[in-house]
Symmetry: C2
């Protein structure tokens, strides 16, 4: 389809663009595979440029504390970029350089952020950039390469910002429209804490260990958690939010992958957290708190317990950000 | 506990009170065991009075087109009444008379309405009436006798009115507080249609046929339906509401109990319904529509299909009512 349309609609500007795509907390206790939000204090930077060399070429990957594939067929940023180039019928070739701020295998949406950064950077090189939600299908292709299936709950919040219900894949229908990814309002006082213990959990492995079936009664209770959480977010009822913010199905099956998880959670709740669970497929752990002051207390408590387990830890805290990926630099020619 | 408190706090006024408790649509496609709303064009009327005769005595049950137990140990209204009398330590005895507007075994919350009507009527006889949500535990005891377990998704909307998330039992915590039963805002244009084909489905049987386990992937999709539905109710996005309003788990297992269900649903959707599913455990079927005009078209279409199946049908339509059970008459002495 694009071969005909592209020359008219998708002319390229010359030069390069660099985009920042935030880390994300997905699942968010109540919404396995359905809910996520960005954490902009950490993220990946992706630079993309057009040149004469054909195809998509990964020139450099820095950071990530773990091997990120330079092979363009295995790198999530390059796969997303190639999908967009192909679909839009863009001429010439593209180079991509990734600076990973997000540790690999941390449960913080690193593979999604690289994919999102790549398509946002390329979008900035289009004479007529697409609306952000139109980039989702391309970024999903990159993410699928990492997790072994299409999951939108890191891609969408990293791209669009905000706490997002990622319904597009679950309910069917168009995935490149904003209506498939409604933003959930979050009470303004809420602050989130994110703690990353330095060990690696592989997404595919964390997914493979889940039992394929659950009891109907478990489904009803977990559905109640989702419903209570959304209702509480809308009304600002933090007491209900706290009682709802539970993962009864996935967390119990995955927590053994994270040394000390139960103690970390206990410490977070004892320090005043509204809820605490695994970020994505772990090992990072997040908590929600009712204020800045409580957030800093919760962060210290969680970090202390992980350290007692002999783990190195990094941690962040902040509000639930409504801002997603963005272009942070532009330039002419091919970058040095 | 009440023996000490009751004499001071719960003095009785003499005379009788009659309460109306509306029928209810529960489950509402997306929220099995968790969601319900009242349908005030149909309901039960319950009259309660105090007299010297000890205990709770069911004097009369009219309507219901099916035998309603006069035995106070099996009648949901009498059981709820007795639970309230006992808990509050009320002196003397009570008579109860029930006029059933809700057909028995219709999936329209008939047993819940009788229980709710009874406690609302008795509440009006207290010198200091309790707040409505404090009546929930008593009404639940009546409902449990009918369905074989405590389910709040008919009781709470019949008592409090509005589309209610019935989280109190699923999440734990106090069930006699309003926060356990948040009201979901419904877009003002929405009209509901309720169609009752004249056959009886027994709640316990409809519950017993459900498979005890479901696939994790089914849970995720159904959770997405609940989330999309709540998000759409909050934002007024009727397109998302329509895509979300699905029961992927219970409806497919129960629809065989309702002759022609699939054709009725198809007809409703073809006539413009946003969604259509089984009311409670059936056989009644409800639909949501985006306007009055569409509601009347949908009602006609659904009724026509049931009649083609050779079934007698009654039907109603109206907005999602925010008003629940209420006292409709008061008098002195013992009623004639």
């Amino acid at each position: 389809m694009s071969a005909k349309r592209a020359p008219a609609q998708h002319r390229l500007k010359s030069g390069w663009a660099r985009a920042f795509a935030p880390a994300t907390v997905s699942n968010v206790a109540v919404g396995f595979d359905l809910l996520g939000y960005p954490f902009g204090k950490v993220g990946d930077e992706v630079m993309v440029w057009s040149w004469d060399r054909p195809g998509v070429h990964v020139e450099q990957v820095r950071g990530g504390r773990c091997e990120v594939p330079l092979d363009a067929r295995r790198n999530t940023g390059a796969i997303a970029l190639a999908a967009m180039v192909r679909e839009l019928g863009l001429p010439g070739g593209f180079g991509i350089r990734i600076k990973k701020g997000i540790p690999m295998g941390s449960g913080m949406g690193g593979s999604a952020a690289s994919a999102v950064g790549a398509v946002v950077a390329l979008n900035a090189l289009l004479a007529k950039p697409l609306k952000p939600e139109a980039l989702i299908p391309f970024a999903l292709k990159g993410e699928a390469a990492a997790s072994g299936g299409q999951h939108a709950d890191n891609i969408v919040p990293s791209l669009l910002g905000g706490l997002r219900l990622c319904l597009g894949l679950a309910l069917g229908g168009a995935v490149d429209e904003a209506g498939a990814w409604p933003e959930v309002p979050v009470p303004a006082r809420v602050r989130s804490v994110l703690v990353h213990p330095e060990l690696v959990v592989e997404t595919r492995a964390a997914r493979a260990l889940l039992k394929p079936q659950i009891f109907l009664a478990e489904h009803v209770r977990q559905n109640a958690c989702m419903a209570g959480f959304l209702s509480a977010c809308a009304s600002g009822d933090l007491e209900l939010l706290s009682r709802s913010m539970m993962d009864l199905i996935v967390e119990p099956q995955r927590m053994a992958l994270i040394p000390g998880f139960e103690k970390v959670k206990q410490a977070a709740l004892a320090a005043g957290a509204l809820g605490c669970s695994i970020s994505g497929s772990g090992p990072s752990v997040f908590a929600w708190t009712p204020s800045d002051i409580v957030a800093s207390r919760v962060e210290r408590a969680m970090v202390a317990v992980f350290r007692e387990q002999g783990l190195a830890v990094e941690s962040w805290r902040g509000p639930i950000e409504r801002k997603g990926a963005r272009v942070i630099a532009r330039g002419r020619g091919v970058p040095k």
